[in-house]
Structure formats: structure tokens, C-alpha cells
């Protein structure tokens, strides 16, 4: 990945539907890009995890081995392994190429809402409704987690990992950031149950979406509110949010079948992209390009900017 060319035009939002993948795996609980954005993972309600090339719409592999629906997945930095967690309370480490289960970590008392690799894919962090985050060691054969972060008073809905931090949103209305380097825990009270958190790509801010149909952009260091984004509907379901590839826009799912784009600085609604009749339950933003994946029902949609010409992507 070279440095992105400075574009003369403003950032474009993905609004052209490029592809619709009918995943055929029940409800698509989550859709996730891999590390370089060439592939995506879909977590199905039928206990399977599928690997796709979203631009071409080809199914590459199906990973089955979960005992219940898969709720979240993540790929490692080297694309060699995947992790996933699901309703069977297990966190599974997969080998990408062979499709085999490498490890199965059991220990959560409830279904696993979210999984995440650390930067070197040596630890899997999983957040569960049992209000704990467990850090599983991929290197050793130890069945117990390395550490259990059980500070949350309610289920953990979202976990994100940076090189030295763990960001966790919980249903108790708090965003907790564990700083391993400082050895400190920062707990920000938001009030409403958190559905999704994420770091901004520059690592300065955290984006928090909560069940009061509001997204908040908080300063990571001080916890101050930098921006508030409303207009979408999120009152019941665990929906995803994220930032666009260059931190220019805030993107969120909505329960009214749209994806909302806000300008990050101004907070103004930039685009309400209608996806379909149901609830947009998950989305993923390409790490470098204006490319968006949305999941609605049993299908995944791939969106690009208007000017995008379909080309033969890799793989």
C-alpha cells in the first residue's frame, strides 16, 4: 500500500451499489473486511463463516464449526488466520487456507458478541454478554484466558484493539479503554447502552454509538465530546458504526434500512443511503478506499463511489 494519492476532489462516499452477495447462510450477523480490504467475512446465522471476494462476488471458503450462530469475526494482520465468536459461547481460531479450526476457546458464560485480534494476532479479545472481555492466547495451548477484563457491569457489545489499547463498549452505558502501556483504565460514561465503538484511524478519537440513536465522537485522551451525530434510528438492535477511510465521515447503520453518513467535523448529515427495507445490521468500511459493505437480512451489499469503474480486483 503506497501512500494514497492526494485527490483534488473531496472524498467521495460509496453510494453506487456494485454487488449484492446472497450469502445463503441465514441472517448475516456481521460483515467484516480483512486487513487490506480485498476480502470480506460474513458471519451467518446458520453457524457458518464465509470468506468472499466482495468485488467479484465470489465465495472463497466456508468455515463451519460453530455450534450456534456466528456473531462476529476478524482476520489477522497476515491474513493467515481468522477468529470468530458466536452464540455457542466459544471463540474459534481458524486457519484461513485449510478452513480448519485451530483452537476453540471456551470460557465465556454467554454468547460472544465481538472478537478482535491484537495487532500481531497473538491474542484474541472477545467480548461477551457475560460482561467480560477475555484475552485468549493464540500462542500457547492454555485453555484459560490470559486475562479477563470483567469491569463491565453488563454485557460487552463491542471491542476494538489498537497496538496498546483495548476499547470496549458495554451495555452498562460506559466505554472503557484499557491502556496497557499506561496500566490504566479509562471509563467514559455515555449513559445509554453502547452498541458499537471504534477508534478513529488516526487513533485520537473514539466513536461511540448508543441506543439513544446517537453517535458520539469522544476525544480519546480526555473523554470530551467532539461531535454528536443524530438522525438515524438505533433503539433496539446492536448496529455497527465506523469512520470512513480517511476519517472524513462517520458512518452508521440504521434500523430504518439506511446507512447514514455524517461529515465528521461539521456533524451535518451528508448522505442517507437507502439499502433496503429491513434493518442494516452490520457494515464494514474498506481500510483505504471508499468502499462500503452493508449487511441486510441474508445478503451483503457492496457499495463504491459513483466514479468507480468496475475493474478486475485481485483474486
Amino acid at each position: 500500500m503506497a501512500f494514497p494519492e492526494p485527490k483534488p476532489r473531496g472524498p467521495e462516499l460509496p453510494q453506487k451499489r456494485l454487488k449484492t452477495l446472497d450469502c445463503g447462510q441465514g441472517a448475516v450477523r456481521a460483515v467484516r473486511f480483512n486487513v487490506d480490504g480485498n476480502y470480506c467475512l460474513t458471519c451467518g446465522g446458520d453457524k457458518t463463516l464465509k470468506l468472499w471476494n466482495p468485488l467479484r462476488g465470489t465465495l472463497l471458503r466456508t468455515y463451519s464449526g460453530h455450534g450456534y450462530e456466528v456473531l462476529d469475526a476478524a482476520g489477522s494482520f497476515d491474513n493467515s488466520s481468522l477468529c470468530s465468536g458466536g452464540g455457542d459461547k466459544a471463540v474459534v481460531l481458524w486457519d484461513v487456507a485449510s478452513g480448519q479450526v485451530v483452537r476453540k476457546f471456551r470460557g465465556h458464560a454467554g454468547k460472544v458478541n465481538t472478537v478482535q485480534f491484537n495487532e500481531e494476532a497473538t491474542v484474541i479479545l472477545s467480548g461477551s454478554i457475560d460482561s467480560s472481555i477475555r484475552c485468549w492466547d493464540c500462542r500457547s495451548r492454555r485453555p484459560e484466558p490470559v486475562q479477563t477484563l470483567d469491569e463491565a457491569r453488563d454485557g460487552v457489545s463491542s471491542v476494538k484493539v489498537s497496538d496498546h489499547e483495548v476499547l470496549a463498549g458495554s451495555v452498562d452505558g460506559r466505554v472503557r479503554r484499557y491502556d496497557l502501556r499506561k496500566g490504566q483504565l479509562f471509563s467514559d460514561y455515555v449513559g445509554s447502552p453502547i452498541t458499537c465503538t471504534c477508534f478513529s484511524r488516526d487513533g485520537q478519537c473514539t466513536l461511540v454509538s448508543s441506543l439513544d440513536s446517537t453517535l458520539r465522537l469522544l476525544d480519546k485522551d480526555t473523554g470530551e465530546l467532539l461531535g454528536e451525530y443524530t438522525g438515524h434510528k438505533n433503539r433496539e438492535y446492536k448496529l455497527d458504526c465506523c469512520l470512513s477511510e480517511r476519517d472524513t465521515h462517520v458512518v452508521s447503520c440504521s434500523e430504518d434500512g439506511k446507512v447514514f453518513f455524517w461529515d465528521l467535523v461539521e456533524g451535518a448529515l451528508a448522505l442517507a443511503l437507502p439499502v433496503g427495507p429491513g434493518v442494516v445490521q452490520s457494515l464494514a468500511y474498506h481500510p483505504t478506499e471508499p468502499c462500503l459493505l452493508t449487511a441486510m437480512g441474508g445478503s451483503v451489499q457492496c457499495w463504491r463511489e459513483e466514479a468507480y469503474e468496475a475493474e478486475d480486483g485481485p483474486g
Partner: protein
């Protein structure tokens, strides 16, 4: 021959035989041209070069295989006569005589062959071998070689000798004097350790000055480097068992791991000779001490660490003059090492310090006074009172302390609580330091009075007894008297009352116990004849004496045991009946403050809590982050105990979730729930909860209604806080529920709770709607409704699955897709729910293979369900009517064709209330099965 003309040029080296000087007038000989340089043999024949064998020249008769006579076969000889003479031809028969000469391929002269030749005389190789032997697994393995010493000197050896070389010298031109030791070149960078100024060579340097000019020396011999490749699997620098150690037991020797030089190995043979006559052989622990062995001292003589060098230091000079016993000059030379200057290049802008770094000053310990005796003796403690104030003063004066004002205690006389008072601390509740503090105020005052009286009397008694002793009267020669006095004084100090009441040493014998208590009371009052008074007059003298002893001993014993016991134990931190739960040290508190801050959008310091958090060491390692707390073993938040109710800490939602049915059963609290009965209340329904009652406040009211008269509900503004109070609430509830157990099973925590805790995941896997129905007991009403809804809905799906999309308003998925209710595991509805999914095609494709399994499941649950259904029928009925109404509204919106369906379902719906379980089952089975 070498360096003969050393005076002219000492650096020139000449080898070989010089040409004879030419005579006067003689022309120099022409060199023989190459073609004339011939080689002839001893017979004058030319030798031609043939090859590499036997010097290259040769062979046969004028280069033929034949002889002068030509090649003639040996004539036939009859073997009958001289059979024995027939000789077997060897290789020699076919060889030339040159081959058998000194330089032939098979010389006939007697020489030592290499097989038997020892290299002992080859000192250079010997040294190398000794070096190798020192590092070999068995050092000194060349011993045998040394014993058999056939001398064979190589040609080079002899050549060198002829050139004047002697053994032990180095090779090279003779030099006038030893080269001066190199001074460190200031321009030269020296890396690593600077070379030590050789202590032993310094003296030799000085000797050089007295050497005469014309004496030359051979250069010093060089120890060859042993280039033996390492072909074993021992570790680097592994030194095997030294046979000198193992066999001859010279264990007193100090090992020098770092420098066992060639001189150490050179006396290999010498050591054996000077062995102190000990028997050779293996002796050791494993072989025990034989009957003939008279000493066993060395059995345990093993190598100890103290024999090894613990510091890296220079090699010893070898003469033993080393260390603190060395002569003065060695030491002084060592001292001069300190002045060694820094040799390396000094960076720009830096200069060497002129003064050495001042070493840390070590202060000597304080000197003890001359009359100090390291024995501590305890001064008698005399309670301060008006009577013995004089005594106290005397005591304190003798101790060298100024008399304190009786009002202010010295620091050491204060106890913890008094210190706390002085510091203005509030006394810790529940951790009374003595039994006294458990007594009521009235009792305390009484005790105080009694104590004062006791003190007074005790002083009198003491004075009296002292007077008695002084007068020397033996009126009361009882040995118990002195003891009596002593324990009397001891007891009078403190808490005799409580002791008497709390300790019953003679509980087995009530009579005796009574007497003992009486004795204690008497004694407390200061009566000297306390024992005599309380003793049973009917007892014999011996018995009395024994009891007297026992009582006094018991009184003393229980004083001490009381104090020791109380020092060992602390009060329980948590009483079982208290409803306080200890919480983590840093609690995320002030939710209300934060809430208002959030409302005002004042995020930042107001909404942020920062805690010290200890990541696991391994986690830090995996994250490539240095451990922020390298010294702590703590992991996570520093916390105090809170495990007691931990299960309920994170099950609070379950508690609240199980409430509505309980409420329904108790019927005392009005039910304010309006529509949307189908879903369990969860924390996620904040929007709904805000409109209506919080489930927790409902719980509160429920709890109150059970304890006392029902109070009014807490205001809705408390909801949020209560969310966070649920933890303690749940504990409260547990307690309450224990109390209210007889009220019926409605007040027990729901079966759900236990299931959620203990059910295995396999239960959840079989997650048809059936299962959920079967699992939940108290939530039956809610779930049931969903069931029925689903049944009608699935009827719809069957008939008009295609029309589904258009029929239902997409904006409101929750009520319009009841299928989704099936998908969500009701028991696990903790967090934000997963969005509904409606993809009929994919679904039906997928579901077919699982039908069989679910059918089985259904069968299993049949009986259970029937039972429950009957129980719940009434409730169900009521709710269903309500639901049916809702349904009606919805279906009115839809098109005509669907309205027939929905009216069908509506009729179904109304019918279900009276349906038999069998009918229900049948319908359920008809459903196209939905996963989850």
C-alpha cells in the same frame, strides 16, 4: 647458521649454504643448462623420469620389465623332488633394488614406523595435544603415549636442529634482547578490556638493562593454536572429569576454570609421582567404605562452588605469589592498576575527570554505650491511679523518663482507638477491640465503678501483704499466697468481669463453676481470702488446696489466653446477616452526576473515571508493551473482596426479567403494563422503560409490598441510578426471598435464572421455538404469546410467503416479523438484540435438513409442556385477547387476500385459548421449522 652476521644487520636472515667465494681472476662458472642436468643411478646409468613413484625415476632394466637376459620364464622344475623348496613369490620378487633402498617404496632399513612412533619429542605437537587433552572428555588421555616413548623425529625437526635450534626455543632469528613490551599507542583504539600491565614481566624488563650487548637470545616459543575441530556434543569449553581429581583425589586444589595453561598440563606425570601414596582406584559414595578401607573422609569430597572463581580476574603469575599473602610488590602493583588511565578515544567536549569518582561514604553504625547489655527487660506496668501515683513516679524516674502529666498518655500507652480519637477518626463500627464495647452503656458504668473499687482494694491488699512479708510473720505460709498476690495484681488491671462471664473453665461441673465465679467476684473485690471464702467447706483440705490452685491458675490462664486469642483473630468483615457488600476499591460512582453531565453534554472529566489497571504480564508481552507495573503481581483492578454475590452481580438482569410473572402471582401491585406484552423487559428497552415503570422499581415495590405496607413507586427519575444499584438490590432480594420463602414458589428466583447459569450450550443449540417454550417457566406467558403469534404467522408464511414483503411495513420490523422472536434466544436477551432477518428463500432452503432433529426435540418436551400449559392457561387467555386485538389492527392494513389469512389466524388465535395441548402440538409440528 642463521644470523651469523648479526652485527652487520640484525634483521637479515640467511638460510642455506653460501657459495664459495670466487678466486681472483677466475671466471664464474657457467651454469649447467637444463638439458644437461641429468640424474644417473649408482651404476652410472641415466635415470629417466617416469613418474611420481620412487622419486620419479626408474625402473626395470633400461625401462623394460625384463632383465639383461630378457624376460625369461623360470624354467620348469619338477615338483616331485623339491616340493618344499617351492617358494611363494612375494611382491619383492618383482621389485627393483632401488625400491628396496632407503628412499624406495619399500625400504629395507629398520626405522620406526608412524604406527608406533610417539610424538613425545615433538614438543610443539605435544603442546597442542595437551591443550586438546585438557578440553577433551577425559583429560590426560595421552598419558599412555607418554609412557611408551619411541623417538622419531621428523625431517623438519632434524633440519631445524641442524640449524641450531634447540627444543624449547622459538623459531626465527636470534634477537639481541627481548622486545620491549608494547606501550599502548595513544592513537590506537583499544576495544574491550585494556591489557593489564603485566605484573610478573615487569621485573624481567628491568633485568634486561643489565644484559651485555653481544648476547643474543632465541625468540620465545609460541604455543601453537590447536585447531582441532569440535566434533563432540559437549558444550563449549566443556572440561571432562579430570583424572587427577577423580583418581588421585587431590581435591584441595583450587580450580582455575579460566586459565589452565600449558604449564598446568606439563606436570601431568609429575602429579602421579607425588601422590601421597594413596591407593589408586575409584572410591566414592556409591561403593561405600570397604572393610579394608580405613578412612572414609573423602567420600563426600565433592567439588563445591567455593572452589571456583566467582570473579573474572587475571591469571595468576604461576609462582603462587598472588592474593593477600603475596609479597608486597605484587600488591602494590595491583594497586597501581587503579591509576590506569582511560585508553579509548575521548569524545569531543568531554575530558577525563581529574578526580576519581567519590565512592559512597559508608557510615559506621552508632557506637553502643559501654554498659549496654543486649537484654531487654520489661518494666512493671502500674496502672495510673491516685493510689499508686507515687509508685508510678518512682518507676518512671528510675527508667529515666520524665513524669508525664497524668492527663496525657504517652504515645505507647495509647491504644489504637485512642489514637484514632486523637486523630479525629470516627471509630470503626463493628470492629470493637474488646468485649467491653459490646456492652451497653449501663453495664459499662457498672464495670467502671467496680473496677475502681477493685483497684483501690488491690492496692490495700498489696500493701497489707507487703507489710506481712516485711514483718516476717509466717501466719499464712500458704504457697498460694504469693501467687495469689501476683495474679491478683494481674487481674486487677483489666477486664475481669468480662472474663468471668465469657470463660467457663469448669462448665462441666456446674457447682465448681459457680464457686469459680464466686471466687472471681471476690477476688475482684479485692478480698485476699477470696479462695477460702468460696471453697466448699465440706471438702477435704487436700481438695481445697487443689481447687485453690486450679482457680488461681485458671484465672491467670484465661487472662493470657484471652489476650493471645484476641490478638490472633479479627472480627469478621462481613456479617452474614448484613446486607452490605464490599465493592471494588475504585468504583465507578456518581452515576447521577454523570447523567446530568451527559444531559448537558459536558463530556470529559465529569464523565470519566480513571483507574489503575494492571494488565497481565503475558498480555503485555503479547502486545509488545512494557509492563506498566513490573513489580506488582496484581492483575486487573485493585479491589477488595466482592465475590460474595458475584453471580448475582451479573445476573441482575435475570432477576429483573423474572419479575413480571412474580408480580402476576402476587397480584398486590397494580400492573401498569400496557401493550407489548410479548417481550420480556430488558435493560435494552430503555425507551419503553422510560415511558412506563422501570422493572427495577417494580421490583422495589414488590419487595416493599412483601415486607410492609405497599408504598408508592419511586419516581421515574431514579431509574438510571437504580440500574446500577441493582447489584445491591439483588442481594437484598435474595435475602428477602429467603424470608418470604413460604409465600410460594412465585417468589423464588425463576427457573430461568438457574438455567441461564447452569444450562450447557447444548441446550441452546437445539433452539427451536419449542425449546424456548419448554425452558422458560415463569416467562411462559410472554413466550407463549410469541409462540402463538409465530404459529399464526407461520401459517401465513405457508400460504403467502411471497406476499410477506409487501404486507408488512418495513419501518417497524420488531412487531412485524415475529419470526425474529424465535430467532432470538429469549433467555440470553441481555444486550442489544440482533436485528431481525427476513429472507424467506434462503431460509427455507436451509431449514429442511434439520427437521428431523427438531421433531425429536418436540417429542421430548411434550409432557413437560402439557403440564405447564394447563397451569398457565388462565393467564394466557387474558393476554391473548389483548394480543388478538393488536393483531386485528395490523391485519386490517393488509390487503384483502391476506386479510382472509389473518382473519383465519385471528380465529386461530382466539381459538388457541381453548385449544387442547395436543392440537397445539399438532400445529406446531406443521410449522415449517425455523432455526433458532
Amino acid at each position: 647458521m642463521a644470523a651469523q652476521d648479526s652485527d652487520s644487520d640484525e634483521d637479515l636472515v640467511s638460510y642455506g649454504t653460501g657459495l664459495e667465494p670466487l678466486e681472483e681472476g677466475e671466471r664464474p662458472k657457467k651454469p649447467i643448462p637444463l638439458q644437461d642436468q641429468t640424474v644417473r643411478d649408482e651404476k652410472g646409468r641415466y635415470k629417466r623420469f617416469h613418474g611420481a613413484f620412487s622419486g620419479g625415476f626408474s625402473a626395470g632394466y633400461f625401462n623394460t620389465v625384463g632383465s639383461k637376459e630378457g624376460w625369461t620364464p623360470s624354467s620348469f622344475v619338477s615338483s616331485r623332488q623339491n616340493r618344499a623348496d617351492r617358494s611363494v613369490l612375494g611382491p619383492e620378487d618383482f621389485m627393483d633394488e632401488e625400491d628396496l633402498s632407503e628412499f624406495g617404496i619399500a625400504p629395507k632399513a629398520i626405522v620406526t614406523t608412524d604406527d608406533f612412533a610417539s610424538k613425545t619429542k615433538d614438543r610443539i605437537r605435544e603442546k597442542a595435544r595437551q591443550l586438546a587433552a585438557a578440553t577433551a572428555p577425559i583429560p590426560g588421555a595421552t598419558l599412555l603415549d607418554d609412557l611408551i616413548t619411541p623417538a622419531k623425529l621428523s625431517v623438519g625437526f632434524e633440519l631445524l636442529r641442524k640449524m641450531g635450534w634447540k627444543e624449547g626455543q622459538g623459531i626465527g632469528p636470534r634477537v639481541k634482547r627481548r622486545p620491549r613490551r608494547q606501550k599502548p599507542d595513544p592513537g590506537l583504539k583499544v576495544y574491550g578490556c585494556a591489557l593489564p600491565p603485566g605484573g610478573s614481566e615487569g621485573s624481567e624488563d628491568e633485568d634486561d638493562d643489565y644484559l651485555p650487548e653481544n648476547v643474543t637470545f632465541a625468540p620465545k616459543d609460541v604455543t601453537p593454536v590447536d585447531f582441532t575441530p569440535k566434533d563432540n556434543v559437549h558444550g563449549l569449553a566443556y572440561k571432562g572429569l579430570d583424572p587427577r581429581q577423580a583418581l588421585f583425589g587431590t581435591s584441595g586444589e583450587h580450580f582455575n576454570l579460566f586459565g589452565e595453561g600449558p604449564e598446568g598440563a606439563s606436570n601431568l606425570l609429575g602429579d602421579i609421582g607425588v601422590n601421597k601414596g594413596r591407593k589408586l582406584g575409584i572410591s566414592g559414595q556409591a561403593f561405600g567404605v570397604g572393610a579394608l578401607e580405613e578412612e572414609d573422609d573423602d567420600i563426600y569430597a565433592t567439588e563445591t562452588l567455593s572452589k571456583y572463581d566467582t570473579v573474572l580476574k587475571d591469571e595468576e603469575p604461576g609462582d603462587g605469589l598472588y592474593g593477600w599473602t603475596a609479597p608486597r610488590q605484587y600488591k602494590s602493583q595491583k594497586e597501581s592498576e587503579k591509576d590506569l588511565r582511560y585508553v579509548g578515544k575521548i569524545l569531543d567536549g568531554f575530558s577525563l575527570a581529574s578526580k576519581p569518582l567519590s565512592s559512597k561514604k559508608i557510615y559506621p553504625p552508632p557506637e553502643l554505650p559501654r554498659d549496654y547489655r543486649p537484654v531487654h527487660y520489661f518494666r512493671p506496668v502500674v496502672a495510673a491511679s491516685s493510689e499508686n501515683s507515687h509508685l508510678l513516679q518512682v518507676l518512671s524516674e528510675s527508667a529515666g523518663k520524665p513524669m508525664h502529666d497524668p492527663g496525657t498518655h504517652s504515645r505507647h500507652q495509647l491504644n489504637a482507638s485512642k489514637r484514632g480519637e486523637l486523630l479525629g477518626e470516627t471509630p470503626i463500627k463493628g470492629s470493637a477491640t474488646s468485649v467491653l464495647e459490646f456492652l451497653s452503656q449501663k453495664d459499662k458504668e457498672r464495670i467502671k465503678e467496680m473496677k475502681q473499687a477493685t483497684d483501690l482494694k488491690a492496692a490495700q491488699v498489696k500493701a497489707r501483704s507487703l507489710a506481712q512479708h516485711a514483718s516476717g510473720s509466717r501466719a499464712q505460709p500458704l504457697p498460694a499466697d504469693v501467687g495469689h498476690c501476683s495474679w491478683h495484681v494481674a487481674l486487677s488491671g483489666g477486664t475481669a468481669t468480662t472474663r468471668a462471664s465469657s470463660f467457663k473453665p469448669f462448665a462441666k461441673d456446674p457447682e465448681k463453676q459457680k464457686r469459680y465465679e464466686e471466687f472471681l467476684v471476690n477476688m475482684k473485690r479485692g478480698r485476699k481470702d477470696a479462695v477460702e471464702q468460696c471453697l466448699d467447706p465440706s471438702m477435704t483440705e487436700w481438695e481445697r488446696g487443689r481447687e485453690r490452685d486450679e482457680f488461681s491458675r485458671a484465672a491467670l490462664l484465661y487472662v493470657s489466653s484471652h489476650s493471645t486469642l484476641s490478638s490472633r483473630f479479627t472480627h469478621a468483615k462481613e456479617e452474614d446477616d448484613s446486607d452490605q457488600v464490599e465493592v471494588p476499591r475504585d468504583q465507578e460512582n456518581d452515576v447521577s452526576d454523570k447523567q446530568s453531565a451527559v444531559k448537558m453534554k459536558m463530556f470529559g472529566t465529569l464523565t470519566r473515571d480513571t483507574f489503575e489497571w494492571h494488565p497481565d504480564k503475558l498480555l503485555c508481552k503479547r502486545f509488545n508493551v512494557p509492563d506498566p507495573y513490573p513489580d506488582s503481581t496484581l492483575v486487573g483492578l485493585p479491589r477488595v473482596k466482592r465475590d460474595k454475590y458475584s453471580v448475582f452481580n451479573f445476573l441482575t438482569l435475570q432477576e429483573t426479567a423474572s419479575l413480571p410473572p412474580a408480580q402476576g402471582s402476587s397480584e398486590k401491585v397494580p400492573q401498569p403494563r400496557a401493550p407489548d406484552k410479548s417481550r420480556k423487559p430488558s435493560r435494552w428497552d430503555t425507551s419503553k422503560q422510560e415511558k412506563k415503570e422501570d422493572s427495577i422499581s417494580e421490583f422495589l415495590s414488590l419487595a416493599r409490598s412483601k415486607v410492609g405496607p405497599p408504598k408508592q413507586e419511586s419516581s421515574p427519575s431514579v431509574k438510571k441510578e437504580e440500574e446500577h444499584v441493582t447489584e445491591s438490590l439483588s442481594d437484598e432480594m435474595v435475602n428477602k426471598e429467603v424470608d418470604s420463602q413460604p409465600e410460594g414458589e412465585g417468589s423464588r428466583p425463576s427457573m430461568d435464572l438457574f438455567k441461564a447459569i447452569f444450562a450447557s450450550s447444548s441446550d441452546e443449540k437445539s433452539s427451536s421455538s419449542e425449546d424456548e417454550q419448554g425452558d422458560s417457566e415463569d416467562d411462559q406467558a410472554g413466550v407463549r404469546e410469541a409462540d402463538f403469534k409465530s404459529s399464526q404467522e407461520t401459517d401465513l408464511v405457508e400460504t403467502s410467503s411471497a406476499a410477506h414483503d409487501s404486507k408488512l411495513p418495513p419501518q417497524d420490523p420488531a412487531p412485524s416479523f415475529p419470526i425474529q422472536k424465535m430467532q432470538i434466544d429469549q433467555r440470553e436477551e441481555f444486550g442489544p438484540r440482533l436485528p431481525p432477518v427476513f429472507c424467506p428463500n434462503a431460509r427455507q432452503k436451509l431449514e429442511t435438513p434439520q427437521k428431523e432433529k427438531h421433531k425429536k426435540n418436540k417429542e421430548k418436551h411434550k409432557a413437560k409442556k402439557e403440564h405447564r400449559r394447563r397451569k398457565e392457561k388462565k393467564k394466557k387467555h387474558r393476554k391473548h385477547k389483548h394480543k388478538g386485538k393488536q393483531k386485528n389492527k395490523k391485519s386490517e392494513k393488509s390487503s384483502s387476500s391476506e386479510s382472509t389469512d389473518s382473519s383465519d389466524s385471528q380465529s386461530d388465535d382466539e381459538g388457541t385459548a381453548d385449544l387442547s395441548p395436543q392440537e397445539l402440538l399438532r400445529r406446531l409440528k406443521r410449522l415449517p421449522l425455523r432455526r433458532q
